[in-house]
């Protein structure tokens, strides 16, 4: 007799459990491909343990998604003001299955090396999320959704897997919005919970750890305020406020110490350069069967060949990765400079390009996205307060603000001397253009 529950050992959550329908997703070609997509691109060149893949992350997100779902839909946890939006009975069970499948599939469309080269390689308007949606709606996956009892609507899975931000031409009702925020939202979504815990575990750093047990246990669907007409959204009981702050601090430290580590970012640039050169004018294939054939493995094989062969397309960036001759930091934003010129990094980058040529200089600029620090908190007396007012910690969580100019190592000494001499002139803001 077929086994109905399949257990997979997991480094973070001990077990991920799947039923036979979910096992069919696991065995599908799009999902098996995730075994060959590094979660953190080339971060393992800096943190050698960070070789984990999207495959196990996706299982972890599914595991956490159901835990969170059971908490927010438990009868004793439903705030009377939002009771109308939570389905019951078969409908509730349907959405639990959709949520698990969406969590499992939320990363199907990732390119080789995840985010590293996405912006450079995909055609305008396409993202890994749009490829995820295409794959969820593909014939192979549609046949799996059809076999489930009752059949799952691919549209529902797609909505929850990528969320409102990435499905701009779709309408979401309140329930769908909340479930999608549970997976890929802007605050305490389970995608973020899993990647912080998992990435810090594999990288060998403790920055990403926080009390996710407590946080999930205190998750609630709440009206944003006590006012009539306030929109229901994800919030927490006051007892979970420090756990939520812990997650936001973990995010800050993981961004500053791991995801935006300057050497890791240099490797991202080299990887983009290599893949752009290797893929040529046609760019990354977005036709699904071709897309599924391309994983980190194919790129790595070609990368090693290119590093050893001076005539191979993409030889220079390949050498920089394989022989660790990555770009070095020439300039990093600081408060004095940003007070003089809020676009100080861009000014240095422009001047360095004019002086040394655009091929040998890169600008890495990123400011934190989303909001995340503002959500409803239900006090013990039932009143709703704003998280931001209720927590001094949340008011002081730093924001990620990356502004590096990188330069080819062969020019680093010369460029540093040049910048030391020209710095004040370069940083001084230009007049406003007409």
């Amino acid at each position: 007799m077929a086994k109905h529950i399949h257990e997979i050992r997991d480094a973070i959550h001990v077990f991920a459990r799947l039923d036979s329908d979910e096992r069919r997703v696991l065995d599908s070609r799009p999902f098996q491909r995730l075994r060959h997509i590094h979660q953190l691109a080339l971060t393992h060149l800096i943190y050698p343990g960070a070789t984990h893949k999207r495959f196990e992350h996706s299982l972890g997100v599914m595991e956490l998604a159901e835990r969170a779902f059971r908490v927010i839909t438990a009868k004793e946890n439903i705030d009377p003001r939002v009771r109308d939006i939570v389905p019951e009975g078969d409908q509730l069970r349907y959405w639990c299955r959709v949520l698990r499948m969406a969590a499992l599939c939320h990363d199907l469309g990732h390119l080789p090396f995840s985010h590293a080269a996405e912006e450079r390689l995909l055609p305008e308007g396409q993202t890994h999320e749009s490829l995820t949606v295409d794959l969820i709606k593909s014939d192979e996956m549609a046949s799996i959704w059809q076999r489930v009892t009752p059949p799952l609507r691919p549209e529902d899975i797609a909505k929850l897997a990528v969320g409102r931000k990435k499905l701009k031409d779709h309408t979401f009702d309140t329930w769908e919005r909340i479930l999608s925020e549970l997976i890929v939202g802007d605050g305490f979504d389970v995608d973020r919970m899993d990647y912080l815990l998992r990435d810090s575990h594999h990288a060998g750093v403790v920055y990403g750890k926080f009390d996710h047990y407590r946080l999930i246990d205190t998750l609630r669907i709440l009206p944003e305020t006590d006012d009539e007409g306030a929109e229901p959204t994800l919030g927490i009981e006051s007892g979970g406020l420090d756990s939520a702050a812990g997650l936001l601090l973990a995010r800050y430290f993981m961004y500053s110490q791991v995801y935006f580590h300057r050497v890791r970012r240099a490797y991202d640039f080299h990887l983009q350069d290599f893949m752009s050169a290797w893929l040529g004018e046609n760019g990354l294939p977005t036709e699904l069967s071709e897309f599924l054939n391309l994983t980190d493995n194919e790129v790595l094989v070609e990368l090693r060949k290119a590093a050893d062969d001076a005539s191979h397309v993409g030889h220079d960036p390949a050498v920089r990765i394989v022989k660790r001759k990555h770009f070095k930091v020439l300039y990093e934003r600081n408060p004095d400079d940003s007070e003089k010129n809020p676009e100080c990094g861009a000014a240095v980058h422009k001047a360095a390009c004019e002086k040394f040529g655009g091929d040998v200089v890169r600008h890495d600029r990123y400011t934190q996205k989303g909001s995340g620090v503002v959500f409803p908190v239900r006090n013990r007396d039932g009143r709703i307060v704003s998280s931001y007012a209720a927590s001094n910690v949340l008011q002081n969580v730093p924001l990620v603000n990356i502004d590096y100019v990188l330069v080819i190592p062969e020019k680093q000494t010369e460029a540093s001397a040049w910048l030391k001499q020209e710095r004040e002139r370069i940083i001084a803001p230009e007049g406003e253009e007409q």
């Binding site: 959204t233 809020p342 400011t367 996205k369 924001l399 007409q434």
Partner: protein, 182 residues
Amino acid sequence: MKRIQRAAVIVSLIEALRAKDSWCGETNIQKACFFLQELTRVPLDLEFVLYKYGPYSFTLTDELTGMRADSILALRVRDPKYGPCYIPGALADSILERYPKTIGKSERKVVFVAERLGNKGVADLERVATALYVRKGMGAVGVKERANRINQLKPHVSLPDAHAAVREVDKMFEDAAELSEY
């Protein structure tokens, strides 16, 4: 419009809203930017979708957080029952000083939007912003037709309230006609 120029316009909008006693939380800024872009045609290059309390731009949310990271904006608690309000940050003045032409071009429109939306609460903003969203999608078709659409998109907005919102937005269009092109 470049990111930093958009930031300058947003700072000037926040100052104008505050001058009209707006709460100046994210919802107030979201809806004011929607009107600034869609009614008065200031090219903020923001994409709005129907989301929390009507039209909403995820890009703008990212932008506001980025402006906080750059100390151009800051958050302040006004009442613990509600989310924080946005105030100009330590570097707001230097942005305003640096982009006088950009700010000058949009100044009348910023004041226009702040005057009409500054005193509105979240529920009012949702109604009129959704009315503008519907007008943008359907064109200036009959009041009844647009009110029905608002009620369909936002069932908690009653039909009489939706009618009133449509008329208010139509009046704003008439009033905005005298503002010069950006």
